[in-house]
């Protein structure tokens, strides 16, 4: 039988437990770590991974590469027209626009020295795109490793993790990676809530450019994060900064909800700066569609309940979210809804008749926008301006 602890021993043990609890999370003690690091330095190739450009999730991609995969991250510079042109030249004309943009980004990343390309696939045709882009890029003459999230998805989480993560880094530390994946999910949720705040308020900043500057700082802060604690801190700091920006917001501003396809409705390069154009007109913008709502908290059957007057079945990757969001905006008295999709996006084309019904039932106008790989935004400006004028005049009249 163990000897009962004395008082001093009890205190000592309590203190040490408490100290252990307060210690910042660190890599778990691993006696073989040093040996493995030496081995890695000798044998493991130094690799750079690149994602394609997608909305404002660049800090999350960086975090994933550096903290989960333990490879270098190659950030892509601001998109230029050349990148898209390369993508357009090398893809079929009828494929949807995101494919072209992603292909162009990959080619650019390879030119900049990436060894690994990461394609996280998607809930629609995007899931097949990794495979196709892999072979197109190889036909173009590039040599690289493709990390395709769509691979091995049938093997469950652990099997997937092993299959996917090991293609890139054979020494990947899976337990550590799992911890950091949790942090990554937190980061994505924070990025989305920062963006939501930005969209709702940036149109009313007293000093022009204040929100964009705060947003750029938020992105930098998020990029510098290495663990969950950093992420929480960065979020608190940058959100606080955004909240402190003085606003001139009317009591009843024009509110527009954006719904649509996963890529085009969010990605500013694909939709020719839709967010910025709306914000510049002084509109409160809402967009339910983002990573958090589509992946982290997605529960399609329950989501569909909210729109059961309109939906009986799951119609596609983001269809439930599109219809439900539109209905919510309509019920919430929004002035208008914008539906954005890329040309040839079948699931979202299927949503249009349903949205027309929503529009009729709630008497809320919906502007349908279809994007291809065009670079001129004159037509878009005309439509948005007219939409805004219409909503503003309607609001004026109702007063």
């Amino acid at each position: 039988m163990a000897k009962p602890q004395t008082m001093i021993e009890q205190v000592r043990s309590k203190v040490s437990v408490e100290r252990e609890r307060l210690r910042p999370p660190s890599l778990h003690a691993d006696r073989k770590a040093a040996k493995r690091a030496r081995h890695k330095a000798k044998h493991h190739k130094y690799t750079k991974a690149a994602f394609f450009r997608y909305c404002y999730y660049d800090p999350a991609f960086k975090f994933f590469c550096e903290q989960v995969l333990d490879v270098d991250y190659l950030p892509l510079p601001e998109a230029t027209r050349t990148a898209s042109e390369v993508g357009v030249q090398n893809s079929s004309d009828y494929v949807c626009t995101p494919f072209k943009h992603i292909l162009g980004d990959f080619a650019e990343a390879l030119d900049l020295g990436a060894d690994i390309l990461i394609q996280f696939g998607g809930p629609c045709r995007l899931g097949y795109y990794g495979e196709l882009q892999d072979s197109i890029l190889r036909d173009m003459g590039y040599d690289f490793i493709m990390l395709n999230f769509a691979r091995g998805i049938e093997k469950g989480y652990i099997g997937w993790a092993k299959e996917v993560l090991k293609t890139v880094n054979p020494d990947v530390d899976i337990p550590h990676g799992v911890v950091q994946m949790k942090a990554l999910a937190r980061m994505i949720a924070h990025l989305d809530s920062l963006r939501d705040f930005y969209l709702a308020n940036a149109g009313f900043e007293r000093e022009r450019g204040a929100f964009d500057a705060a947003w750029a700082r938020a992105m930098d802060a998020m990029r510098a994060c290495t663990d969950e604690r950093d992420i929480a801190q960065a979020y608190r700091d940058t959100m606080g900064e955004m909240r402190a920006i003085p606003l001139d917001k009317p009591a009843d501003p024009i509110r527009i909800g954006i719904v649509g396809e996963m890529f085009t409705a969010i990605d500013e390069r694909s939709n020719l700066g839709l967010d910025h154009k709306l914000v510049a007109m002084g509109v409160e913008v809402h967009r339910m569609l983002n990573f958090t709502n589509r992946y982290l908290r997605y529960n399609e059957p329950n989501l569909r309940v909210g729109a059961k007057d309109y939906l009986t079945y799951d119609m596609g990757p983001t269809s439930t979210l599109t219809v439900l969001a539109a209905k919510k905006y309509a019920e919430g008295g929004f002035d208008g809804i914008i539906h954005a999709k890329s040309a040839g996006c079948t699931p979202e084309i299927d949503c249009i008749p349903v949205l027309q019904k929503v529009s009729e039932d709630f008497a809320v106008p919906i502007l349908y926008l279809t994007y291809d790989s065009q670079t001129s935004d004159t037509g878009l400006d005309t439509r948005l301006e007219a939409f805004y004028d219409m909503l503003a005049m309607k609001k004026e009249k109702r007063k």
């Binding site: 008497a363 400006d381 005309t382 007219a386 219409m390 009249k397």
Partner: protein, 331 residues
């Protein structure tokens, strides 16, 4: 002196101009082909309007101007306009002023077509053709050319047809090959023309008008509304009367003028035609306006910046996505 307002609608095919007085009645109107030269076309329109104003006497002085249409920005800079508005808003404003009870506005122009739903005199919903230019004015005029008929006579020829040919309406490419086929197998010309008018109407209703509730009274306007054949096709397909205003083709310009009148006289112009407070025709007509495209090299995005010159002075520029590419005006 009586105050008047100028409105110009510079479309891809035609340029329209009106002058309204303070009671918002049209006192001068002009309609000319743009012929790929919006600056020259709007100068000619202004010249015509000036002549009509001189005839009307009454010493009208133009104190404000508005522009609309696809070259609104360029001509707006030339005129020093106080209002530069998109054509959808301009059309809605113009039509609802003349027809306060209108519920649906159908509009087919040279390059685009739109539908505007109106409720209580306010536009509540609109749609515009997106990827496809099927059934617009330029399609009709190129087909008229193929058939050897003046586009102005098109409507009257169509109305003489007893049995319109069936022409695929889905897309201009298909419509055109269908049309060529029907010509080659010897259909009567008026039947083909009437079939074409039907195709334009059904294409419009299936594309632009899809999902929109078309309620009477319906007003049809834009250049194509002058085509009696298309008007007839719309009436038949909708099963309701379709009104065409004699000034229907000028509605955009009228809307722009109304908006300019709402904005009031321009009294703060430092240069340009409105520098003296009233519109100086000579100041606009004498100058040479040019547009140059500059590629901004200040970042990787390489924006195309469009600069408008009045002789040697830059009077306006646009196209830059950030302040780095901002061009200073020199006038």
């Amino acid at each position: 002196m009586t105050k008047a307002y100028l409105g110009i609608d510079i479309g891809s095919i035609s340029t329209k101009g009106v002058v309204i007085d303070e009671n918002r009645t049209i006192i001068a109107r002009s309609y000319l082909w743009t012929e790929g030269n919006p600056t020259e076309a709007s100068k000619n329109v202004v010249r015509e309007l000036e002549a009509q104003l001189a005839e009307a006497g009454d010493d009208f002085q133009i104190v404000g101007a508005g522009t609309t249409g696809s070259a609104r920005r360029l001509v707006g800079a030339m005129l020093g306009a106080s209002v530069i508005k998109n054509e959808i808003t301009a059309h809605a404003v113009g039509t609802t002023y003349l027809h306060p009870d209108v519920r649906t506005i159908l509009e087919i122009g040279g390059q685009d077509s739109k539908i505007i739903c109106v409720s209580d005199g306010i536009a509540v919903d609109y749609a515009m053709n997106t990827l496809c230019a099927a059934g617009t004015g330029s399609f009709l005029s190129s087909q008229a050319h193929r058939l050897g008929v003046e586009v102005e006579e098109f409507g009257d020829v169509a109305l003489t047809s007893k049995k319109p040919a069936n022409i695929a309406a889905r897309c201009t490419v298909f419509a055109e090959s269908d049309l060529v086929h029907k010509i080659q197998v010897g259909y009567a010309r008026e039947d083909i023309i009437a079939g074409l008018c039907n195709a334009v109407a059904s294409n419009y209703l299936n594309n632009v008008g899809k999902g929109k509730k078309i309620a009477a009274p319906v007003v049809f306007q834009g250049g194509v509304s002058k085509n009696a054949g298309v008007v007839h096709a719309f009436e038949e397909q909708l099963g309701m009367p379709v009104a065409v205003d004699p000034d229907g083709h000028l509605m955009g310009a009228f809307g722009a003028a109304l908006l300019a009148a709402d904005a009031g006289p321009i009294d703060d112009a430092e240069s340009g035609p409105f520098a003296s407070g009233t519109f100086d025709f000579e100041a606009m007509l004498d100058f040479d306006f040019k547009t140059r495209e500059v590629e901004c090299n200040k970042c990787a995005n390489h924006c195309e910046i469009i600069c408008v010159y009045r002789d040697k002075d830059i009077i306006d520029s646009w196209g830059n996505r950030c302040d780095k590419g901002a061009v200073k005006t020199t006038a």
